[in-house]
Point group: C2
């Protein structure tokens, strides 16, 4: 069950009402009825996001000299065709033939099977566990669970299907719908067989509508395409990482789960380029080797369990659970980042992808999952994309996306080589010459060996060249030579592998809001009040300045203090509204403002002010300089509230009374 | 003529080569052949952009407690239909019927007329002034200028047309093409009559392709739609401003001028909401009233001149040149921001829009224009959008986008009111009822007076209702009542007006790069070397750390120093490549790194290091602590290099020799 920061049961409806009331987020275009899957961040959400991004940039980009780039969202068709997204970046979708309703196939199956299991539980006189069913889903279920007892074997089958629902492909999902005779409760009919729906938003670039393009589904491609320039910028030194923070887009079939599944979202991605030889060591692995992570590996999951292990990354890499040092290094760095911004340490785990669950480009992948009221949610992916992307782009464009490493000792290389007689080859094939040449050069060593044999026996070679004629081209023997030769090399060329930590900032923000939330009983016995205990570093506003009343005498003090704080880069707001001090502090507890300063009549006399801690509601008092110093040290993380309490005298004057009213 | 920071003639080709070589920017998807109008920022461009955005956020959002929001780029059709963008956000485009080439009509006319004028000048034996023609444009001109003398009257007519080319509409542009018989030099034929081409990228949202959407052309609409929530967040206090930093999109017909006219760009926009009554005063106007601006008002332009006036904003507002205090306040704030980030003060002017040049929503507009090698370029617009946007969205959606102000004394209001007999009205008009009711309620006071007269004479009223029947609807008299009544009001309701400073960050960055650029003769007599003298606050990297050689003894010093600087938030890079110190400094002069620290053999003995100033190449020496303090004070702006030179002893050791080699 989801809990608050203080272990109370988390009531998502109440939290959600708070987040909307305080404008952390709001549905986009709400006065037009809204568009599902699109949300705006209001002032505190926007500032929190900025705080998290600043922390990310310091923790990753600056700390590790990463090369940050900012690439366009608009991406031409050809790039995403090559990367595989045009063909493979899709979800299964099915349509009700009667009312035209469209479902994501896996969600449809999940909903109906869960409903049947609930009906079965009711029939057996058990209370249905609501763990996996959130209130929003419940509203969407058109039919109430029919009370109907199922065979034990059927119950087991349904549960197994639900457990591995992520792993079925489109055809298999269609088979499940048929097998279990799943019908749309709204119409009573079975949906049509599911089809693939590509999740990219498409558009056309330029006035003549002939350059098809998409909104990027990830920032990664822009980084890959710039690889050679980045390597040059990095003065040819390896390994290095690029990084990018920017929006990406997925045209979700039926967005749900609020901020967790949206159509437009901010990502922060790192592409760390590493030599595939030598075990993918990382020069700074030693600095992190003793950090313990909570790990859920694929073997455990394959055996149907979710038992996590806690291990140092050194152990995890040594035992082969985590493939290599570089992957391990980044898992720890991700963990430390999440810790820094205030994610609850007891609600993080790293889960390894199973083979059939990985994206088309990945060879290994671990997700940092955060526990929320929606269950364990993937918030950061850390994939080993191997040489996939650089290779396919190089092959498609002919660009040289490689690293050339000077060898300390020359080596001898024996390889099959293709020589093309350029004088005759070009004129013979005319416009198809380049494509055919590219196909020849793209052949593997074993293909070349085969071709060389064929060359000895036939008058011409048949080569597969997609897009030319019927895909097969006949090349006369006299135009090419294929021979095995041995040469000496002083330079080693290789395509780097890529380790990619990829952060969904919106999901992290949502988890952070849930993890920071708790409720405080008010002394007056009113209903409990919400508090968002963000760490000062990421809190939207650092200091609230409240005059005791809207007496004119307080105004210059507030203004001057506000300016002084701003000058040292500490964001603050004055609340001189007519609400009670208690109400004003309450509002700012909901906004997650960690510190409050009260200006009262004593301030006018002796220039002392009180400083209040959001989490304990305790106060200390001191002159302006001392309080500003205290604020600064809390905001930059060098001191805690406990330190401040021992530095400055506690304040239990009359304002405390007002504060809890 | 464009000049460098030091007044040298600016060679754009050389600068552009530098900017690409150092990866300030690069064409997107270059290995795929690129897409015109799309560019990526590499590491230094990205960091410079971040520096400018940070400065913007501090200067505007934090300094003035603006409410920053982050809205989606995807925007449904209906919103942009209401805002007027679907109908009016277009450029004129024409097509060559022979080869299908597509031109932006005004660019086509400009190019051909300029070519004819050049041919005329040549015929008259004058040298063609190249001021307005940049090298890129020249390359694009298919035909070389034909040497042909024109009549004096024709020359004058061409020049007049060129001077006001921004002001013609699509039909008029077509007439010019016909009148002057303008032909595409590539084919010798006249293009087809121009048509409007909408500049928004369109897409569809969701799986069923029935929700049409666009990529936003500005961030403003998201801010307007959230107006009521923002007012509530601001505890109903007026005036206030919202702000947003994010990408916007324009599907330019034929992007040119490099980074200045692109299809995807970063904007920073402020929407300041102000009471339209009381002359739009600004509470902080007094703080800026004595700042002098360079102003080019519309009267001057209408008289065909470009003579600027230098005036304090107080004078400009007092004389009615700038309409009101709020507009004036923001013009000064814009000016101060541009100054802060390093824009050349002699290359800024504020130009007022002429009536026919303004966007469809604006009632007054001033552009901050920056002088570049492309001429004066609009980089910031500051428009008074009046109540346009809030009114149209309120009217369309029925949302209440107003401010309710409690009156200190009640007032009596006499107004024509429309009463609708709901019991009969709805059933009578059925599905059209709401639209007809909305049209009645939208009538103005004078229209109501007219309608009331008609009501007395005819049996029914004819009302214009767009979209219902043929646009005119007959309403029987018995369904409505129109009367003049007097009521007492305690609350005043008004739709706020909006003053909108809107920043094109990419254009500002480009101007900043040109304004910061100059070349330094090297002592060795080689070719001049480029320097980008960015102010330390926005410079991509603040400090370069260079060991004298790649001797291992230097490594720990470099690493430790780098970590110390990073800890206090100062970005730095170590360059321990094998290039000479001079070459390494040269590279960083091109990158705009303001400070360099050299680690040499003396460092190993006494821990002193040298600090080099990018602009003067002078060096001082001191122990690590003193140098770090100096670096910090330069980066935070509290000291200049001159201050440091008087604090610390100059260094003229052997490294100087190396540095200039």
């Amino acid at each position: 069950m989801a809990t608050t920061l203080k272990g109370q049961p988390l009531d998502r409806t109440t939290l959600d009402a708070l987040l909307r009331r305080r404008m952390f987020y709001t549905p986009s275009f709400e006065i037009y009825g809204g568009v599902s899957g699109l949300y705006d961040y209001g002032p505190p959400g926007c500032a929190l996001q900025q705080g998290v991004i600043d922390a990310w940039r310091k923790h990753f980009v600056l700390e590790e000299d990463m090369l940050e780039v900012d690439c366009t969202v608009l991406t031409p068709h050809e790039v995403l065709k090559t990367s595989g997204h045009v063909d493979k970046f899709a979800d299964s979708m099915c349509k009700d033939p009667k009312n035209g309703e469209i479902f994501r196939a896996d969600h449809f199956i999940e909903e109906i099977l869960e409903n049947r299991l609930k009906g079965d539980k009711a029939a057996r006189g058990q209370t249905a566990e609501d763990k996996a069913v959130d209130p929003k889903k419940k509203r969407k279920t058109k039919g109430a669970a029919e009370i109907f007892k199922l065979d034990d074997a059927v119950v087991q089958e349904y549960e197994e299907v639900l457990a591995k629902l992520d792993n079925y492909n489109t055809r298999e999902l269609g088979e499940l719908i048929q097998k279990f005779d799943l019908k749309n409760p709204a119409t009573g009919v079975q949906p049509l067989p599911p089809v693939d729906f590509n999740l990219m938003f498409s558009t056309s670039i330029g006035p003549s509508s002939n350059l098809r393009g998409y909104l990027r589904p990830e920032t990664a491609q822009g980084q890959f395409l710039n690889f050679s320039k980045l390597l040059e910028f990095n003065q040819q030194q390896m390994p290095f990482a690029s990084a990018s923070i920017g929006r990406s887009y997925r045209n979700e079939i039926s967005p749900r789960s609020g901020l967790l599944r949206v159509r437009e979202f901010l990502m922060a991605e790192i592409e760390h380029f590493v030599d595939p030889n030598g075990g993918k060591k990382h020069p700074r692995f030693n600095e992190v080797k003793d950090v313990k992570l909570v790990l859920l590996d694929k073997q455990t999951q394959l055996s149907g369990k979710t038992t996590v292990r806690k291990a140092t990354i050194e152990q995890a890499v040594a035992h082969g659970m985590v493939d290599n040092e570089t992957l391990g290094y980044f898992l720890v760095r991700i963990h430390l980042f999440l810790e820094k911004i205030g994610i609850d340490q007891s609600k993080i785990r790293f889960r390894q992808h199973m083979a059939n669950e990985m994206a088309h480009y990945a060879t290994d992948c671990w997700d940092a999952e955060l526990l929320t009221s929606f269950g364990w949610i993937e918030c950061v992916g850390c994939a080993d994309r191997s040489a996939y992307d650089l290779s396919v782009h190089a092959k498609k464009t002919g660009a040289s996306l490689i690293v050339r490493e000077r060898l300390s000792e020359p080596i001898k290389v024996t390889e099959w080589e293709v020589d093309i007689d350029r004088k005759t080859f070009g004129p013979y094939f005319k416009k198809n010459g380049r494509a055919i040449e590219a196909a020849l050069i793209a052949t593997t060593q074993s293909q070349r060996e085969e071709l060389s044999k064929a060359l000895g026996t036939n008058g011409s070679l048949i080569i597969e060249v997609p897009g030319v004629d019927d895909g097969k081209v006949s090349v006369p023997n006299e135009l090419i030579k294929i021979e095995q030769r041995t040469r000496t090399e002083n330079v080693r060329e290789f395509v780097p592998n890529v380790i990619e930590p990829s952060f969904g900032i919106g999901r992290i923000l949502y988890a952070l809001m849930e993890h920071s939330y708790w409720t405080r009983a008010s002394e007056g016995g009113d209903e409990a009040r919400g508090v968002l205990s963000f760490p000062p570093t990421v809190a939207p506003t650092k200091v609230l300045i409240v005059p005791l009343s809207n007496n004119d005498a307080f105004r210059p003090f507030c203004y001057e203090l506000s300016q002084k704080l701003r000058k040292i880069g500490i964001s603050n707001r004055i609340d001189d509204s007519s609400a009670t001090i208690g109400k004003r502090y309450s509002r700012n507890d909901e906004l997650g403002t960690p510190l409050g300063i009260t200006i009262d009549f004593q301030t006018v006399q002796d220039k002392t002010i009180t400083l209040r801690d959001r989490d304990s509601t305790k106060q200390v008092r001191g002159d302006e300089d001392k309080i500003i110093t205290a604020v600064r040290s809390i905001v930059d993380g060098s001191k805690t509230w406990q330190d401040i309490e021992s530095d400055l005298p506690a304040f239990v004057g009359q304002e405390t009374e007002v504060a809890v009213r």
